[in-house]
C-alpha cells in the first residue's frame, strides 16, 4: 500500500469569486512508505497548500488524495499525521513535557503512560533534561526539537513538516537535519518536508518534488541517490554537489518559464 497517493489534485481558493486564485493544478505524486520526500519551489508554488491538503486542513477542489489507502479525513481521525510548522507553536502555559504529551492527552492516553512516552520522545530529541522547563526558557532550535518530539509522540505513520527549520540559524539547522534523519531511520516514518533550501532538500530527501508557481504544478521529480545513511561528510562529497547543481538548474527552469 502506498503511503500517499495524489491523483489530479487541484486547489482553487475563492472559487467563482472575483479574487479567485488557482493555487494547485493537476498534481500527481505517489509516495511509498518510509520515503523522505521534499517539496521545493519558489514562493507561491503552493507547496504549503499541498501539505495542508494532505493533512486534511484544506480540502481539494478537484482530484483525489489517498493516505495509507484512506481519504485524508479518515487518516486524520486515525491520527496518522504528525505536523511540524516553521514556528514551534508550543503552548506557553505548559511545560515542555506537557507540550509533548498534548496529543496523547487529546487521545485520552492515561497520564502515567503519556508522561513515559513524552519523556522517551524528549530523550530522542536530546532534551531529556528540560522536561519541566517552560517554552520561553528554550532557544529557537530547542523549541523546534520539542515540536518534533510532540509530532512523534503518538507514532504517526506520516510526518508532515512545513519549513520546520526555516527560522533557525545555519549551524543549528545542519545539526537538526542530522537529528531528523536519525529519527527518520529509527522510526521508519514517511516524511513529507516543505523547504526553501536547496542543500536541505538534497541532504534530507530520497526524492525531491520540484514545483512551479501560478498555478502550482509539479515540474520535475528528482531521485537523490546519495548513499544512506547520510552523515556529516555527505555534504562534502562530489555527488552532493552534482545533486545541488541538478536541483538548482531545475528550479531555474521553473523560474524562467
Amino acid at each position: 500500500m502506498t503511503a500517499l497517493d495524489l491523483r489530479g489534485v487541484g486547489m482553487i481558493f475563492n472559487e467563482g469569486a472575483a479574487n479567485e486564485v488557482t493555487a494547485l493544478e493537476n498534481i500527481d505524486v505517489v509516495i511509498e512508505p518510509g520515503e523522505f520526500v521534499s517539496l521545493i519551489g519558489p514562493s507561491g508554488c503552493g507547496k504549503s497548500t499541498l501539505l495542508r491538503l494532505v493533512g486534511d486542513l484544506l480540502q481539494p477542489t478537484s482530484g483525489e488524495i489517498t493516505v495509507n489507502g484512506k481519504p485524508p479525513a479518515r487518516a486524520r481521525l486515525d491520527r496518522d499525521y504528525g505536523m511540524v510548522f516553521q514556528s514551534a507553536t508550543l503552548l506557553d502555559w505548559r511545560t515542555v513535557l506537557d507540550n509533548v504529551a498534548l496529543p496523547l492527552e487529546i487521545m485520552d492516553i492515561p497520564r502515567h503512560q503519556r508522561e513515559e512516552t513524552a519523556r522517551e520522545m524528549l530523550e530522542l530529541v536530546q532534551l531529556g533534561g528540560f522536561a519541566d522547563h517552560h517554552p520561553y526558557e528554550l532557544s529557537g532550535g530547542m523549541q523546534q526539537r520539542v515540536a518534533i518530539a510532540r509530532a512523534l509522540s503518538f507514532r504517526p505513520s506520516l510526518l508532515l513538516m512545513d519549513e520546520p527549520f526555516g527560522a533557525l540559524d545555519e549551524m543549528t539547522r545542519e545539526r537538526m537535519q542530522m537529528e531528523l534523519l536519525a529519527i527518520w531511520r529509527e522510526t521508519q516514518t514517511t516524511v513529507v518536508f516543505v523547504t526553501h533550501s536547496i542543500p536541505e532538500a538534497v541532504f534530507l530527501s530520497t526524492r525531491v518534488v520540484v514545483m512551479s508557481p501560478r498555478p502550482g504544478r509539479v515540474s520535475e521529480l528528482i531521485e537523490t541517490d546519495l548513499a544512506q545513511p547520510r552523515v556529516f561528510e555527505t555534504r562534502e562529497e562530489p555527488g552532493f554537489y552534482e545533486m545541488l547543481t541538478r536541483l538548482r538548474e531545475s528550479l531555474r527552469k521553473v523560474d524562467e518559464s
Binding site: 497548500t49 495542508r52 486542513l57 491520527r79 505536523m83 503552548l91 487529546i106
Partner: protein, 302 residues
C-alpha cells in the same frame, strides 16, 4: 521593586501637583478677585469657599461629624455607603463577567450567534445607562426583589461588555498553526476550547476584568440615582449635591470616596491577577480600551 517605587513616586508627585494646581488657582482667583492676572477676563470657575473649598477643608470634613451632634464622622458614613454600593457592584460584576465570558465562548463557537448577537452586544453599550435605570428599578420593585437587585442588574449591564469582547479576542489569539495542529490531532471542539483557546484567553481576561470592575462601580452609583434607596453612595452624592450651598466640602468628600471605591476595586483585581497569573503570562500592557469587530483568523492560504 525599583519600577514600582518609581510608579509610587510619580503618582505621589502628580497628586501633589494636582493639589497645588487646585490651591494655586484658588489663590490667584482670591488675589485678583476672580479674573485672569493682568486682564479683566473672568476665571471659568469661581474660587470662593463655596465653589472651591480648600483641599484641607475637604479632607477635614471627612473626619468631622456628618450632622451637628451626630455620632458618626462623615468618613464612616461614606465608607458605609460605599460598601453598600460595592456589594451591588460586586454582584453585578460577577454576574456580568460570567455572562460576558459565556458570550465570548458562544461567539467563538458559533458564527451564526456572533453575526446575530454581536451588533446588539456592541449597541447595548451605546444605550445611556441612566436612561434604562428607572425602568429596571420599577421592574424590580414590581417583582418585589430586594433593593440591591436592580442596582446589580445595571452594574452587570455595564460589566459584561469588556469581558465579552476580550474573551472573544483571547479565544481567537492562538496562532492559526496552533489551531491546525489541534485539527491534525482530530481534537474535538471541546478539547480545542479547554486545552488551547481558554488558556490562551486568560491573559486577556484580567485587563477586561479591571475595566469591568470600574464599569460596575459606575453602574451601581448611576443605578442608585433614580432608585431612591437611602443606603448607597449615589444617594449620598445626590443629597450632598442638594445641600451644596451650605456644606460644599461634603459633596467633594463624597466624590473623593467614590473615586476611592473605583480605585480600590480595580486595585483588588490587579492584586488577584498578580497572585494567579505568572508574570511571563501577563500581557505586557493592558490592551487599549477596545470596541467592535474582532478579527477572525485569516483563512489558511499558501
Amino acid at each position: 521593586m525599583k519600577a514600582s517605587l518609581r510608579t509610587t513616586v510619580s503618582f505621589v508627585v502628580t497628586v501633589a501637583a494636582l493639589v497645588l494646581l487646585w490651591e494655586g488657582y484658588k489663590a490667584i482667583g482670591q488675589a485678583t478677585g476672580g479674573v485672569w492676572p493682568g486682564t479683566s477676563m473672568n476665571l471659568p470657575v469661581r474660587t470662593n469657599e463655596r465653589s472651591m473649598p480648600h483641599v484641607w477643608d475637604i479632607v477635614g470634613s471627612l473626619f468631622a461629624p456628618a450632622r451637628r451632634g451626630g455620632e458618626d464622622i462623615l468618613l464612616v458614613i461614606l465608607v458605609r455607603a460605599a460598601l453598600w454600593t460595592w456589594r451591588s457592584a460586586l454582584i453585578g460584576f460577577v454576574v456580568g463577567s460570567f455572562v460576558g465570558f459565556g458570550l465570548g465562548v458562544l461567539f467563538v463557537r458559533s458564527l451564526l450567534a456572533e453575526r446575530g448577537l454581536m451588533p446588539y452586544v456592541v449597541a447595548s453599550q451605546a444605550v445611556p445607562v441612566l436612561a434604562i435605570a428607572p425602568i429596571v428599578v420599577v421592574w424590580s420593585g414590581r417583582l418585589a426583589f430586594p433593593n440591591w437587585v436592580p442596582i446589580a442588574v445595571i452594574s452587570a449591564y455595564l460589566a459584561f461588555y469588556p469581558v465579552a469582547i476580550n474573551t472573544l479576542r483571547g479565544l481567537r489569539s492562538p496562532e492559526a498553526t496552533s489551531m491546525e495542529l489541534m485539527r491534525s490531532y482530530a481534537a474535538s471542539p471541546g478539547q480545542v476550547l479547554w486545552k488551547l483557546q481558554i488558556p490562551a484567553s486568560l491573559p486577556y481576561l484580567f485587563p477586561a476584568l479591571k475595566i469591568s470592575a470600574s464599569a460596575s462601580v459606575i453602574g451601581a452609583i448611576v443605578g442608585e440615582l433614580p432608585a431612591g434607596f437611602p443606603q448607597g453612595l449615589g444617594r449620598a452624592i445626590l443629597s450632598f449635591a442638594s445641600s451644596f450651598s451650605s456644606a460644599p466640602e461634603k459633596l467633594f468628600a463624597s466624590v473623593l470616596v467614590s473615586a476611592m471605591l473605583g480605585l480600590f476595586f480595580v486595585g483588588l483585581i490587579s492584586l488577584i491577577e498578580r497572585w494567579t497569573v505568572p508574570a511571563a503570562m501577563r500581557l505586557r500592557e493592558d490592551p487599549a480600551i477596545e470596541t467592535g469587530a474582532i478579527p477572525r483568523p485569516a483563512a489558511v492560504t499558501a
